[in-house]
Amino acid sequence: MTTIELPWSVLPDYRCFGCSPHNPGGLGLTFDPHPDGVCTRFQLDRRFESYPGVVHGGLVGVICDETMGNLIVLRRGRSAFTVSMRQRYVAPMLIGRPYTCVARLRAGADGGLFHTTAEVLDAHGAVCATATATYQPFTLADARARLALADDELAALSAALDTTALDTTAPNGA
């Protein structure tokens, strides 16, 4: 399995808390192809603890959101803002244990919105959390006022996004 290069990597100093390799306080998530969409593997340490030994639920939301958002970027070549997200916590996730988050695109896109789901699985494949979310795609030009991007960064990122979509026809781009 090969880690997918994110278009944001053209920005030498992007600091996304979820997926940047340049943010020492972040999660540094990387993404791999998955038959259903994309996935990320992670193992969190005690910086992200809630109850003793248990991963903070907010972090689980971050990881699901990050995986679903990057699914749209990687499979559809669109950047998108999260509009809404529902999280369901099935079982406590433990500090220091490996987990996988798998994100999928749902059928029934309407009004230009993307609908997605995510599952967090433990090492045995048991579901620990699920999420559903809706995303609104945007063009970098339209969101320019809300993004801290220089002109050359905007151009480089736009070019990277244009060549990112692996397959825009299959339900999950698989």
């Binding site: 369901r88 099935v90 059928a107």
Partner: protein
Amino acid sequence: MNPPTTPTDITDITRTVADIAAGEIGGGVQLAADTDLRAVQGVDSVKMLRMIAKIERAFDVELEDEDVFGISTVGGAAALVEQALRERV
């Protein structure tokens, strides 16, 4: 839009829900529509939520939390799925 293999008839929905629940419980358990799932040995709240997660994914529906925690039987879960599918059309 339903995936082509997603059942929409209550009988088929019930059968699929029973298969998912039995798979999650394991041990070759046989479940009827009126089986009290929470009374089945080995079924706890986590196992119930895992069943629901698989059911939601199989039918591509979202069930309300209040409904989920009220589910006690296969038939009850199937009825919620049928309602969610109807509301989606």
